[in-house]
């Protein structure tokens, strides 16, 4: 077997797949070495979370003291319950979820369908259509948000969450793009085989390619979820009543205009709580993202 010491090891495919290949002690050592390396780097990634949690236990004085200290002294208890007792916070979470669910479900469907068409079906002007779609994300939101607000006002949607939901139902260009790319890696023979079997186009999408896209779909849904969860600007501009505020708007409202009056511990506690569901979701979703799909044995 090849004995290479290069750090860049090739993907061994998927971990679940049983292999009769024996992992040599050398490779095991390499794995552990890589794990340690990656872990150290990962620590730098996790830093903000650690800091946020610690800050949520600090008194205002300590936070504003300018010097960054890591251990809360004294330890301030009660910020988390304070956050949760603020009715606004909970309603912010609920509103955000009210937006996430329809958008991800329906938008995910329309996006994956479109991606399937772009990647696996033949039609005239395919590339030009795609480029046109891509053009829609080339305009900074700042410039588009005011006319969109005008539109939503005329439609009477500003008293609800609709401005955040309806546009998303039609699909997400980044998602379509990524799924399209991903589908390129899946052999087109599957398409031909399905056609030969007399499958409808929709059927091919639904029964053959959608399951194969699971990993990519999961990844993109995760990113889209995060995008909506963290979005601040659109909800602030489009939503009028406090009752409709989504999570980030609520957290921002905890911020005072004058830094000195901001309750940082509260904001950090709120941010930590806001992160927990997303991290949990991610941890769970990973199964879908990282699990491999065996694409052998087509013949």
């Amino acid at each position: 077997m090849s004995a290479d010491n290069t750090k860049k090891k090739k993907a061994r495919g998927n971990a679940q797949y049983k292999t009769d290949r024996v992992i040599t002690p050398r490779e095991r050592a390499m794995n552990i070495f890589i794990f340690i390396l990656l872990f150290l780097v990962a620590l730098t990634m996790v830093f903000p979370l650690v800091y946020m949690v610690l800050t949520s236990f600090m008194t205002k004085n300590q936070i504003l003291s300018g010097r960054l200290t890591l251990i809360p002294n004294p330890v301030l208890i009660g910020k988390y319950s304070e956050v949760l007792s603020k009715g606004q916070f909970i309603s912010g979470v609920i509103n955000t979820i009210k937006v996430e669910i329809p958008v991800l479900l329906i938008g995910g469907f329309t996006s994956s369908l479109a991606a399937f068409a772009f990647a696996k079906m033949e039609f005239r002007g395919k590339d030009k259509f795609f480029l046109a779609l891509l053009a829609t994300i080339m305009i900074p939101f700042a410039v588009v948000m005011i006319p969109q607000y005008v539109l939503f006002t005329k439609l009477g949607w500003t008293n609800s969450l609709l401005p955040l939901i309806i546009p998303g139902l039609f699909g997400n260009v980044s998602m379509i793009f990524f799924l399209r790319q991903n589908l390129y890696s899946i052999p087109s023979d599957l398409m031909d085989a399905a056609k030969l079997d007399g499958c409808t186009y929709f059927g091919t999408y639904w029964r053959v390619f959608l399951p194969l896209m699971k990993g990519a779909l999961g990844t993109q849904l995760m990113l889209w979820f995060m995008g909506i969860w963290n979005d601040y600007l659109a909800p602030t501009i489009f939503l009028r009543s406090e009752a409709n505020w989504t999570l980030q708007v609520v957290i921002r409202s905890f911020n005072s205009y004058y830094a000195i009056q901001s309750d940082y511990a509260l904001i950090m506690a709120a941010s930590v709580i806001a992160m927990i569901p997303t991290l949990l979701l991610f941890f769970v979703f990973q199964r879908m993202i990282i699990e491999s799909i065996a694409i052998s044995g087509i013949k």
């Binding site: 090849s2 495919g13 479109a114 779609l133 006319p147 790319q181 990844t219």
Partner: protein, 306 residues
């Protein structure tokens, strides 16, 4: 594609049918676009030809292409544009790091799920916390980086956020760090699609690690790389929040500001929506040209079919 001469090729029934279904499938995003983007884009184009402030009259203040001409002579605009392009150095850095880490994670090492989640934390973290933290890391007197620097060299480290040139470096570091999690999971998803058999076959044939990487992994990851490249370019041209959060007034001598940051300042702080819209239009055109160029060039290096 047929039709190089005047020979008309009739599409078969099957092909027409496929085409119609395809159009149906891609209809939703286009309908969405027509409903929610068409009017705003037209509106933006009109506003860009005016001296509209949001408060005064739009139609009474149309000035043709004057804003565009002024932008080309605007030193601050070009400064921001240069900064924006410099920030894009982070794109290849992020891609290489992301791909490397994804490959490492994909080996089947223990704790993969935990590690991947850890890498994703910056993406989900609140921007407030992240910026406070990095402001400390980069702090001239008390910061982590300068602390390490002093320990290693005994000299005072650079002024990461206060120096005109260093601040760009700091911003790039910050942006790469923030975006790493996303590119890692994107590459992971791409790596999943590579059939294991290919590697085994190559190993049997005696290919070295590097050769397997260059001839299997890299080409088969090229669609993902292309995606990351395009979306990073489009996103890179529109960087805004990071600057707002790390260098609120644009940095010393405006050295950290990006084009969209400048746009915001012009449009919302200084009430010049017309000028801001013109900046947006110019930006969109530039992004479009670069993207189109990339698409045209993708045939050279992106694998679109197995």
């Amino acid at each position: 594609m047929a039709g190089s001469k005047k020979v008309k090729v009739k599409m078969s029934q099957m092909a027409k049918r496929e085409e119609r279904w395809a159009w149906l499938f891609i209809a939703p995003p286009f309908i969405g676009f027509m409903c929610f983007m068409a009017y705003p884009i037209v509106f933006a184009l009109i506003v860009s030809c005016s001296r509209w402030t949001g408060i005064n009259s739009l139609w009474g203040n149309l000035v043709g292409l004057r804003n565009y001409i002024e932008i080309f002579q605007d030193a601050k605009f070009w400064k921001a544009m240069v900064t924006t392009i410099i920030y894009m150095i982070g794109i290849p850095i992020g891609m290489i790091l992301g791909m490397t880490i994804a490959m490492g994670l994909n080996r089947g090492i223990p704790g993969k799920r935990l590690l991947t989640t850890m890498y994703y934390v910056p993406v989900v973290s609140s921007l407030v916390a992240v910026s406070i933290l990095w402001a400390w890391v980069f702090n001239y007197d008390y910061g982590l980086l300068n602390g390490i620097y002093k320990a290693l060299t005994g000299a005072h480290g650079p002024n990461w956020l206060g120096d005109e040139h260093m601040i760009k470096v700091s911003m790039i570091i910050f942006m790469v760090w923030k975006g790493l999690g996303s590119s890692i999971i994107l590459y992971l998803a791409g790596l999943q699609n590579i059939p294991r058999d290919y590697y085994e076959a190559a190993e049997i044939d005696g290919a070295s690690g590097w050769q397997r990487f260059r001839n299997i992994t890299l080409p088969l990851l090229s669609p993902v790389t292309f995606y990351i490249l395009i979306t990073s370019l489009i996103g890179g041209f529109q960087v805004f929040v990071e600057v707002q959060v790390m260098a609120a007034s644009g940095g010393p001598n405006y050295s950290a500001a990006t084009v969209v940051f400048y746009l915001y300042e012009k449009a919302f702080t200084n009430g010049q929506l017309g000028y801001g819209s013109a900046i947006a239009v110019i930006l969109a055109i530039i992004i479009f040209m670069i993207t189109a160029l990339n698409f045209w060039g993708q045939n050279k290096w992106v694998n679109t079919d197995i």
